[in-house]
Amino acid sequence: MTSEIFFSYIIPTIGRASLETAIQSVLKQEFSQADFEVIVVNDSGDPLPKADWQDSPRIQIINTNKSERSFARNSGAAVAKGKYLAFLDDDDWMLPGAFENFWNVAKKCPDAVWLYGGIRIVDEQIRTLAEINSGLNGNCFAQIMGGAWAPIQASLIQARAFFEIGGFNPFICGTEDEDLCRRAAYYGEFANTPPAVACLYRGQTWTTSTNYLRAPEDTKYSRDLILSKPGVFHRLRTSADSSYWHGRVLRVYLSTISWNLKRKRLFTALSRILYSLVVFASSIPHIFARDYWAGLRAYHVPQTLHFVMEKYAHERIFREA
């Protein structure tokens, strides 16, 4: 029996008050083309306080018992019936018209495993700090591996693909969404819709349960696991479509060399060195382009949260000075 539900919204919560906004932004979408459900994964360890939204027939609550984010999200996915899965955090919310946009891009690209739109970053007065959309379509493995951002809050993931790639990796805590995105890019194609569909709150009162100190290490671990998969080199090469991304691919290989050396994985490091040389050799036509070196040297890729927030922080310091 196949289900008729188009997508399942999975909202893990640790009991923050902002949960209400997140849920209402989903329940109040004007959308009649298909059915959807909302799965609230309460990982706080305590029952959720009573609220009106709990009476909605679309809502299902499951109580996981402090199982960490990846487990909570995978649990939500396990009970979901939708053809697509969406993951929203309890401090973010969807913008009006989001579902309409998702529906259109899903109709247009039924084979894409990852559909996404733009994301709006706002401060405490709901002022727009930035709108980000990297606009990637098709095979964008090199871009995603190289650091391009397809924010999970603004994405729909094909449920079949989600399980095929094993769901969220519980060993990566904090940047597990980026890891999932990399594995999805390895596995299938992306499709983009230009408008902003989700809102990410980054005001001064913003707090997070994410341990960002772990993020750089987790990112390297995630990339290294993926680089060990078969056919990666070929897929990276076919998706690197400009000098910038050729430089970026080389950076991906180079950065895992030291990671493996530090862990005394000498043979893997040797293999990565060899691949770096091959990547370099195959990108020789690009080495006179400035973009190539820009890609190789840049710490963050444009149209990512870090890039934008760094710029914003600079401006604020400048303003205050």
Binding site: T64, N65, G166
Partner: protein, 297 residues
């Protein structure tokens, strides 16, 4: 069948406040009504026809207990099973507790009993094919979460893979009491890990890539036989990687094979060492059980 499984848990001789039952219905259709559904110890959650591992990980994440017990819907427990395991938990710091398993055929006819005799650090033994049924085991929930739960990409050998990953970091303890009755497919000749040799090999390769594996195997390979087994693990992995043209991984495995032979010291003079290197993997407990069953016949 499911009713028998659930009722065997509800009938445990243990205060009801000590345990809960989570039924993960992965059938895609609602469960037929049954008396046990009225018990306030039972919680039912429906998954939408996912793999076993996904369903079990979901059950684990909503569980409140200190220990997790995974029972399949066609198996059942001894009435005192939980009490034995609880007692064991009070005297042991091991994170994986287990007891004996009675294998039965499809007609519920007893086949053999499994006595494993694994205690403490047994990483080497489980890497070489020893296997303990989940049905007879308690796994500490924190440990389960820490090692990432069941590998959702493995269909078939996910139980032995979990056991290996737990024993890579933790210890195991055994109680000499019968815990569970487990139905074996066919004539009782197949086990989970031999049913899916390809997936099983891949899972073991992933474990060999983890850190501290060499050291952990060495410290659990204390006899010439197990030292031979250790060399065999790396040698077979070398061949497997060569066949798949993972040349650098193969090079790493061959150097670890040589290292494990060098570390074996005097053991290489023992006949057992060479028997272990050349012989195929098997579960000693399983073979002992079959041998006993044939003797009784």
């Amino acid at each position: 069948m499911l009713t028998r499984a659930v009722e065997s848990v509800l009938a445990q001789r243990l205060p009801a406040s000590e345990f809960e039952v989570i039924v993960v219905n992965d059938s895609g259709v609602p469960l037929p009504e049954a008396d046990w559904q009225k018990s306030d110890r039972v919680q039912i959650v429906a998954t939408n026809r996912r793999e076993r591992s996904v369903a079990r990980n979901l059950g684990a994440s909503i569980a409140n207990g200190r220990y997790l017990h995974f029972l399949d819907d066609d198996d059942w427990l001894e009435p005192y099973a939980y009490r034995h395991l609880l007692q064991l938990s009070q005297s042991s710091e091991a994170k994986w507790l287990y007891g004996m398993t009675q294998l039965v055929d499809r007609k519920n006819k007893p086949l053999i009993q499994l006595r494993h005799g694994l205690q403490g650090n047994c990483f080497m033994q489980v890497m070489a094919g020893e296997w303990i049924p989940l049905q007879s085991s308690w796994i500490e929930r924190n440990t389960f979460m820490k090692i990432g739960g069941f590998n959702a990409l493995l269909a078939g050998p996910e139980d032995i893979d979990l056991l290996r990953r737990v024993l890579l970091v933790e210890k195991i303890a055994e109680t000499r009491n019968l815990i569970a009755h487990v139905i074996m497919g066919g004539n009782g000749s197949t086990t989970d890990y031999s049913r899916h040799p390809q997936a099983s090999r891949q899972a073991r390769e992933q474990i060999l890539d983890s850190s501290n594996v060499f050291h952990r195997m060495r410290s659990s390979a204390l006899t010439p036989f197990w030292r031979g087994r250790m060399a065999r693990v790396y040698l077979t992995s070398t061949v497997w990687n060569l066949q798949r043209r993972h040349l650098f991984t193969a090079a790493s495995r061959i150097s670890l094979s040589i290292a494990s032979i060098l570390h074996a010291g005097n053991s290489i003079l023992a006949k057992d060492f060479w028997r272990a290197i050349s012989g195929p993997y098997s579960s000693i407990a399983f073979e002992a059980g079959i041998g006993e069953a044939q003797r009784i016949k």
